[in-house]
Symmetry: C2
Subunit: 286 residues, 2 copies
Amino acid sequence: MGKKLDEMTITIVGVGQIGGSFALALKENQAGGKIIGMDKKKVIEKFRTGEIFDSLTFNLDSAVREADFIFLSTPVLTILNLLPQIVQHMKRDAVLLDSGSTKREIVSLMSKYPQRILIGGHPMAGREKPGFESASSTLLENKLFALVFPTKKSLEGKSTVLALLEKIGAIPFEIDGEKHDLVVSLTSHLPYVLSLCLSSLVEDFFNKDTLFKKFISSGFIGATRLSFTQKEMGKGILKSNSSHIIRMIDEYRDRLAGIRSLIEKGNEEEMDRFLGKINRFHSELV
Amino acid sequence: MGKKLDEMTITIVGVGQIGGSFALALKENQAGGKIIGMDKKKVIEKFRTGEIFDSLTFNLDSAVREADFIFLSTPVLTILNLLPQIVQHMKRDAVLLDSGSTKREIVSLMSKYPQRILIGGHPMAGREKPGFESASSTLLENKLFALVFPTKKSLEGKSTVLALLEKIGAIPFEIDGEKHDLVVSLTSHLPYVLSLCLSSLVEDFFNKDTLFKKFISSGFIGATRLSFTQKEMGKGILKSNSSHIIRMIDEYRDRLAGIRSLIEKGNEEEMDRFLGKINRFHSELV
């Protein structure tokens, strides 16, 4: 690690929910010397200099030029677009960590710059409502933060990243990109797709007969909550992890066919066994 | 309406989450003269006479014999089992309202007693964690309470039921049993089945590789929350509404196939359109 944490200039590219939470956590834990916030003009205009960010800009090049540490927290497709441009302008010894929802494509792009300290990251945290309004200084606290080191060079940034994550209370977890994408295709992306599918089906029924809408309950709202996931973020997930997601959809479809026949058969003992097993599994989970 | 509300003896058969919430709401709103709680011995033993219930018993016959109003709040299959026995022992002018999750089979059974005031009910409220521990005096407040009047005789109880629901702040909504079961098969039962299916799939992956478990997030917990639904309650739903549920599973399966090909194709414009539509639908919903 070169500079001390509290002397570093940290640039947050994308001050939405995750980037905003990272900035708030740095501020609250007095990590980082100067914090620069960078985003689109209309986002940046909502902030006042000196409150959370010491400096605000919608110019990417100038935002990353002076940074010792760059936190790249935009949707996946934007990360893939911005990375080559950032690499051109960042300092040679600066450390970059991203927070994209999928890792394989991002770390594959990172490995094309073996002279740069580029680290893949993904915090297992987030609320469905997007944007800085849902950010909080404790959002990443006690949450797993997956880390992928794609090159030998990237390991030079490890101590800095670990020190920063420790400061904000996140739990670092090293994993390779391919494995990461497989795991989250089940634990995050499949639930997202299932929620999209339920919302899409229900919308059609609502349009046919408004009576359906009267009967929505908290259980239904919970089951469709992930449909809130911001379009750009969702698109990045579906595009950059399509093969794993499709595999999980197929596994789910086969399982659903099994439950369908359990219901059709209507054997109480079989139902008892299945429902009891799920009850036990779920109560051990939470 | 015969007796005034505050002179009535009200028996709650099944003092779980819904029955308990009904009792607490009656108490808080000073409705009902005497409130009797009836359940299995091991449930009843947890209560003290005089706190919420003026009287407690695990004897069904004696519990319903003196009641002016009976609230039958057990899982569906138990309702179907208990109803004939209750009818034998209830007073001729007593009013019975149930709270079962499905209505077609229950009101069909009710209609076999055209000389009794038997009314089908279903509050659109509930938490996943079962039992009295999740009961609250406000659980039914401002929630839709579906009502089915299966016989001409049952209408004699209408004013009493409406007065009681008004007291506790629930919103009465008349519907026929068949329509009710169709609507909730989409809004409640399908989400329940989808959650079961996800839990079941995920359990297998967890057993194969504990790494998956490290990556569970709040989104995943939300998506599987309905798996908590108590086994007996779930079984009643799946058995008594199987044909509608199977229809909804089939609609869902077809829709999922559509989303699968959207992901496989990977056309960004099509994804934008679809995800944008879902974002809009969902933000109008909540």
